[in-house]
């Protein structure tokens, strides 16, 4: 096997406002949807989804790199946001 060949790994990070935070954007979307007649709507929250492609074939390494981006790289703010990593 040729060890020079590296395949990329794509991970997704969903970042959402923490439940205790008033999500003004989510609230604005929610009010808009409800006023447009979507009566069953209970709540909207707006976050972001970031796709990160890493130059590695090691899943664990990729995951820990993304964890570092979140915690050390400022990808999220733990005071107001929470995250989930998707593979």
């Amino acid at each position: 096997m040729n060890s020079d060949i590296k395949s990329d790994i794509k991970l997704g990070v969903k970042i959402m406002p923490r439940d205790v935070i008033l999500d003004t954007q989510g609230r604005a979307v929610e009010v808009s949807m409800r006023s447009n007649g979507f009566a069953d709507l209970a709540e909207c929250r707006v976050g972001k989804y970031i796709e990160i492609i890493l130059n590695t074939s090691d899943v664990n390494k990729a995951r820990s790199e993304v964890e570092r981006m979140l915690k050390e790289g400022g990808l999220y703010n733990p005071l107001i946001e929470k995250y989930e990593i998707y593979s």
């Binding site: 954007q25 979307v29 808009s32 006023s35």
Partner: protein
């Protein structure tokens, strides 16, 4: 001629008072209309959707405003062929509402631009700029973060073929395709532009070219 003008206000509209002052200077009678209410389209001769940051620019600029009750009446007003002008965020709202084609994206280099812009009048058949000559250059202020006009090639071809390109930038400040600063719908009664005519009314403002508008 004096018109009755409806100025539409959303949460976060902030150029409404300037637009009202502008209309008063032009001897029109202007009243404010609130986004939560529909209105009788026969009560007004003309509508203006002023700039600002409607509904916090949340979701996409103009997206939430485009789906409010007042827009049902605005669409009816448009169908009747009556004049509607959208300025800056108002232009974005008209695009999101489907009354104008295309979309306004984040400026090139991600920069908010507030500066003077020289604009060429490509066609003066819209109801709003009949006081100008074709190819005349006017000076208006721009102030936007999302003003880069974009549309698919097919739409752009249509805009050109139907003379829907209204104003173009002489020095494209934001990366708009075909240097587009303002467009009209096919009927020429719905018009949108990113620059602010209401900010160019007196010499001390730096330009009086806003007075060319209806």
């Amino acid at each position: 001629m004096s018109f009755k003008v409806g100025i539409i206000r959303f949460l976060g509209t902030n150029c409404d008072a300037d637009v009202k002052k502008w209309m008063t200077l032009k001897s029109h009678r202007a009243v404010y209309l609130w986004f939560e209410n529909q209105f009788n389209v026969n009560d007004y001769d003309m509508l203006i959707i002023p700039g600002g940051f409607s509904h916090g620019d949340y979701l996409r600029c103009g997206a939430l405003a485009a789906h409010t009750p007042v827009m049902k009446s605005v669409k009816e007003f448009a169908t009747k062929g009556k004049p509607i002008l959208g300025i800056c965020n108002g232009f974005q709202i008209l695009c999101e509402a489907g009354l104008l084609p295309g979309v306004l994206l984040k400026n090139d280099l991600q920069k908010f631009k507030d500066e003077w812009a020289m604009l060429k009048v490509i066609q003066n058949r819209s109801p709003f700029l009949q006081g100008t000559k074709k190819d005349q250059v006017i000076k208006l202020a721009i102030a936007h973060g999302e003003g880069k006009y974009f549309a698919e090639t097919e739409t752009l071809n249509k805009l050109v073929d139907n003379n829907q390109i209204w104003l173009t930038y002489e020095n494209n400040p934001n990366g708009s395709v075909l240097n587009i600063a303002g467009i009209t719908n096919e009927n020429k009664n719905v018009c949108g532009l990113m620059p602010h005519p209401e900010r160019a009314l007196f010499e001390w403002m730096g330009s009086t070219d806003g007075m060319y508008f209806l």
